[in-house]
């Protein structure tokens, strides 16, 4: 069965490739339909241009046929200025403005879509402001710092009908698409169990306060997180991934990738969220960082499939009735091998195809469809990370009620589903 989005994608491609629209200007339905003139490109704003933000920015620059970066913002002056200079050099003119405060970027009507590649604690608060300002949204993983934040962003994206792309770029890999398609269509039979493995986090970081460096807006960086003195390791490099004021650690930050593969293969809905999860984790006892470095979790998904979620390499393995399929960012193994090559049959679920995550997002905006990494999948994978985190923190088996959207029978654990945000920021 084909999906409407596939059909629309096909149509847009067909119209564009056939050059039909250029000969029939009166038939162009809107400025975003097939037209490639510079003035018709999607205006993109970048919130966060550091490490990961810089990489994603380079990916968007490669798709300047579809989108033009018109604004960047970052709390680090040097970063935002370098990013703007890079964009302007690429465009051959002054097309991109740098902002210290991303709210100024959101106020620009030329910005149709934003990419949020900030530290994790900003993903949802900034995402909500963007969605409410009518911007389409590309958000790096993980989603939020709490279950409440996850649902808030999910609800806002759906209510405001915004196009969403999650930064799980594996979905734009051919082999991940193929593997997930095989599992979704039961080519290996019923899934019996799943093993999810993600790289571990790290301990360390210096907690010694230091003067805030020149050119860094630490107040804005902290944003909705609790106020605490500046330390370099809190705000630079991997440190921003491992402190609980700003992140949940790699259980979510990288766990999002292999968990996302699991969710894509199983259906991107509540059935692929853990309904029971328990296990252990290692939390640093010295230094600045305080999120789990290693973890060893197991449980059951809503569809009844048992799963494990551990720290190690980066892999999602499906053990099925007729064989085993293992997918990682770089490669796959399929046993027996011939199942890997099975052709799709009529009636098969066809997952959306992409080989370019940034390009898919921009194309999705043109077609007003979900990005290949849609928000339902993002919510599903992040919930399992969040529940695993709570299981480690409490040392107890955590049960999840997907209908009531709560942790029943454990009020203390349920309290970890929410966080207070520092004013003026709110959900």
């Amino acid at each position: 069965m084909t999906t409407p989005s596939t059909r629309r994608q096909f149509l847009t491609k067909a119209l564009g490739s056939a050059g039909l629209l250029t000969g029939l200007p009166l038939l162009v339905p809107s400025r975003l339909f097939g037209a490639e003139a510079p003035s018709n490109r999607i205006g993109v704003g970048f919130i966060g241009t550091g490490g990961r933000g810089g990489q994603v920015l380079a990916n968007f620059l490669r798709r300047s046929d579809l989108g033009q970066i018109v604004a960047v913002s970052d709390c680090y002056r040097a970063r935002r200025e370098a990013a703007a200079a890079k964009v302007n050099k690429d465009a051959g003119g002054e097309v991109c403005t740098a902002y210290q405060d991303f709210r100024d970027l959101l106020a620009r009507p030329e910005v149709d879509a934003v990419v949020i590649a900030t530290p994790d604690h900003w993903h949802v608060p900034a995402g909500l402001l963007a969605v409410r300002a009518g911007k389409d949204l590309y958000v790096e993983k993980p989603m939020g710092l709490s279950i409440e934040e996850d649902f808030a962003l999910h609800g806002a994206v759906r209510d405001h009908r915004r196009v969403f792309q999650y930064g799980t770029q594996q979905r734009s890999s051919i082999h991940i698409h193929r593997g997930c398609t095989l599992i979704r269509n039961r080519r290996l039979g019923k899934v019996l169990s799943i093993e999810v493995v993600a790289p571990p986090g790290a301990a360390g970081g210096s907690p010694i306060p230091a003067p805030v460096p020149e050119g860094f807006d630490f107040e804005m960086y902290t944003g909705p997180a609790p106020s605490r003195p500046y330390t370099p390791d809190l705000c630079t490099g991997p440190g921003s991934w491992y402190h609980s004021d700003h992140a949940l650690g790699f259980i979510a930050g990288w766990g999002a990738h292999p968990l996302d593969v699991m969710c894509w293969a199983l259906g991107d809905d509540a059935s692929c969220v853990a309904v029971e999860i328990s296990g252990t984790g290692t939390i640093p006892t010295t230094g600045l960082f305080d999120t789990p470095t290693h973890w060893d979790l197991k449980g059951h998904l809503g569809n009844g499939i048992p799963f494990t979620f551990t720290s190690g390499t980066d892999r999602t393995t499906f053990r099925c009735e007729h064989g085993t399929l293992s997918l990682s960012r770089a490669t796959w193994t399929c046993d027996p091998p011939h199942l890997w090559h099975e052709a799709p049959a009529p009636g098969d679920v066809r997952l959306p195809e992409s080989t370019d995550h940034a390009g898919d997002f921009l194309q999705a905006i043109r077609e007003r469809r979900d990005g290949v990494s849609n928000i339902d999948g993002a919510l599903a994978s992040d919930l399992t990370s969040q529940l695993g985190y709570i299981a480690i923190r409490t040392g107890r088996t955590i049960r999840w009620d997907p209908v009531a959207k709560t942790i029943p029978g454990d009020p203390a654990a349920a309290r970890l589903m929410r966080r207070s945000l520092r004013a003026p920021w709110s959900l």
Binding site: R7, F10, A18, G134, H160, I283, H338, A412, L421, S426
Partner: protein
């Protein structure tokens, strides 16, 4: 009772926990997790029965007058899982302090609204600025209607940041009263986007809860021109409260600049009247609006629209409209449109033809398969019909593509490559003509075959019966099959027949992907007198030593035999490069021989260094050092110096 509590307390805490808690009172941010991590673990993992005891001790700490801000905040965080109503008096004074308000609000977030709301309200009376904004935000999250006037006041603050926080608090509060308060706010330019977005989303919530009148009243307070995001929310409200009126408003907009948005809205409206209205309006719309309309009908899967959409495919229409209509038929077409789609499948416009074939192959209507089968059985031998029948797995249809593929039809070949099974593969193998096209199809069909032995048998027969180019095709395909049976056939063609055939057999063997080719390649390298054949065979051997499933000793042993068979310096250089990829003592030993050969000693030394670097890269520093020291001892001059340099680069690494 008191004795039990004391006993419980002693059991729970003992000396170490008590001293850790005492340390908490002295906590400084520069300690980081030291002293904090263990107590957090104890509290977060505490049995619920222990909660009140933990809470009491943490509150004791909070009562200390000399407590630092960081200790106060960390103590509040620790309270989260164990907090009860008992902690509220201790939180109240912290709420109004900018340094502790977030941590204390966080604790109260855990408690029931009826316990917390009074203290939050009280705190807002004396707080101001961001502290007040945070408190009102929490009251909004608890839907505290009594705080709406205070939120509305904040929403009118001259500082836009605080005014936006007030609007956010009203949005979080929700309901008719908060909506009214938002509607009553003057739409100041600096906060208008936030005010309108909040108003529209609350109107949507009201409409979803069946409160149509207040929802519509909220919409009336919105200001023009509306931002697209707000307009989308307004349409959603209208879809819930007055869908027919909305449909009447949207259809004429399909041809305008906001046609895409209007179409999206029409897709989502839950009202069967949308189809009727669109079908009625379709003939009278301009082509641009017709394109949007057929999109909507397709996405709504409205089969009743198929005849009307089909009329838009005739060749007098603009090309973009025809293509949109044919593509829509992919979702809408039923048996009545099959003949039309078959005709369109060979349309002069390639995009239209492709769309029609796609519709025939994938259309979801349950009657399509039977209708296509009927056309095929009735003698429809056109490629479009056969292809559609094959895609729908109608028995015999895939096999019917074989003659078309043999005649050179690229679409038939593409379809066969994806769908063909053993039967079709055998038929194609019998027709192999040495052309790239057929060989490519067979290669594609080979991949998913669970049992390749039958494919090997067919290819073996073909290789035996059809000399020349077909034989060479068969040999190459046998290479893709792999396995002992296939290798035996290829080896059989190494020594006999046409030189082109024997050359092809050697090419295939040298690229073999399984260890079964190792022995024949070594045999050939040892016995042949032709340099080119030997070099190719040795290249194949070197490549096979990199396959998994071999121990380092086995790999080195193979390469030793290969070196023995080699005659040329170039051959030995390639083999030493392969040795470099085996970081083991046996490999180093093998390289030692190369150091005595002036023609290849540089390559042997380079391989030696590569092994040392691999060992160092995998943290086997002592082994790497030993390997380099052996190299230094075994060489002189430049090679000796290189070993010394590498040793120096290793430095003092442990």
């Amino acid at each position: 009772m008191i004795r039990s509590a004391l006993l419980l307390s002693l059991c729970l805490f003992g000396w170490s926990a008590e001293s850790t808690l005492a340390g908490l009172a002295e906590y400084r941010i520069s300690q980081g997790q030291r002293g904090l991590a263990s107590i957090r673990q104890d509290i977060f993992r505490a049995d619920p029965a222990q909660s009140s005891a933990w809470e009491a001790r943490l509150l004791d700490i909070l009562r200390r007058p000399d407590l630092s801000v960081e200790a106060r905040n960390e103590t509040c965080r620790l309270l989260l899982p164990v907090a009860s109503a008992a902690c509220i008096p201790a939180m109240a004074p912290l709420l109004g302090d900018p340094a502790t308000t977030v941590a204390s609000r966080h604790v109260l977030l855990a408690l029931e609204a009826r316990l917390v709301v009074p203290v939050l309200r009280q705190a807002t009376l004396t707080a101001n600025g961001l502290v007040q904004a945070g408190l009102l935000g929490d009251l909004g999250q608890r839907h505290d209607v009594a705080s709406i006037p205070a939120m509305a006041d904040l929403a009118q603050h001259h500082d836009p940041v605080l005014a936006k926080a007030g609007i956010a608090a009203l949005r979080l509060t929700g309901g008719a009263q908060a909506t009214q308060a938002l509607a009553a706010l003057a739409p100041r330019p600096e906060v208008r986007p936030e005010r309108d977005a909040a108003l529209a989303i609350l109107a949507l919530d009201l409409a979803r809860n069946g409160q149509a009148a207040p929802a519509m009243a909220a919409l009336a307070a919105l200001t023009e021109p509306m931002a697209p995001a707000v307009r989308g929310l307004v349409w959603q409200v209208r879809a819930l409260t007055d869908s027919q009126g909305l449909v009447r408003e949207l259809i004429p907009r399909l041809g305008t600049a906001i046609g895409e948005e209007a179409a999206e809205e029409l897709v989502g409206i839950v009202d069967s009247g949308v189809e009727t209205a669109l079908i009625q309006a379709l003939p009278g719309l301009d082509p641009m609006a017709q394109i949007q309309a057929v999109h909507v009908l397709a996405r709504r899967r409205s089969p009743a629209a198929a005849p009307d959409v089909a009329r838009l495919t005739d060749s007098t229409r603009p090309a973009a409209l025809r293509l949109a209509a044919i593509t829509a038929l992919e979702d809408l077409a039923g048996p009545a449109q099959v003949d039309l789609l078959i005709r369109l499948g060979v349309d002069a416009d390639p995009a239209c033809a492709a769309a029609a074939r796609h519709a025939l192959a994938s259309g979801p209507h349950p009657g399509l398969t039977a209708a296509i089968e009927q056309r095929w059985i009735a003698g429809g031998s056109e490629l479009v019909v056969v292809q559609a029948a094959a895609e729908r797995r109608i028995p015999g249809a895939i096999a019917a593509l074989v003659p078309l593929a043999i005649q050179g039809s690229e679409p038939a070949r593409e379809t066969l490559g994806r769908l063909g099974g053993l039967q079709e593969l055998e038929a194609l193998v019998g027709a192999l003509d040495g052309s790239d096209g057929l060989e490519r199809v067979v290669a594609k069909m080979l991949k998913p075959l669970p049992d390749r032995l039958k494919a090997v048998a067919a290819l073996t027969t073909s290789a035996q019966r059809h000399p020349g180019a077909p034989r060479r095709s068969a040999l190459r395909l046998l290479g893709l099959c792999g396995g002992p049976a296939a290798v035996a056939v290829v080896v059989g063609h190494l020594q006999q027949g046409d030189p082109e055939d024997t050359g092809a057999a050697l090419d295939v063997l040298a690229r073999w992907s399984g260890l079964e080719a190792l022995t024949p390649l070594l045999d050939l390298a040892s016995t042949t007198t032709e340099t080119s054949r030997r070099s190719l065979a040795l290249q194949g051997v070197a490549r096979l030593t990199e396959l998994p499933g071999q121990t380092p000793a086995e790999r080195v042993s193979t390469l030793r035999l290969a070196l023995a068979a080699s005659r040329e310096a170039d051959e030995r250089k390639r083999l030493y490069a392969a040795v470099a990829r085996i970081p083991s003592a046996e490999a180093v030993e093998l390289l030692r021989r190369g150091l005595t050969d002036p023609l290849v000693q540089a390559e042997a030394a380079a391989a030696w260094v590569t092994i040392a670097r691999t060992l160092a890269g995998t943290r086997q520093i002592p082994a790497a050092r030993q390997v380099l020291e052996e190299l230094a001892a075994a060489t002189t001059g430049d090679l000796h110096q290189r070993a010394k340099d590498e040793l120096a680069a290793l430095g003092d690494k442990p």
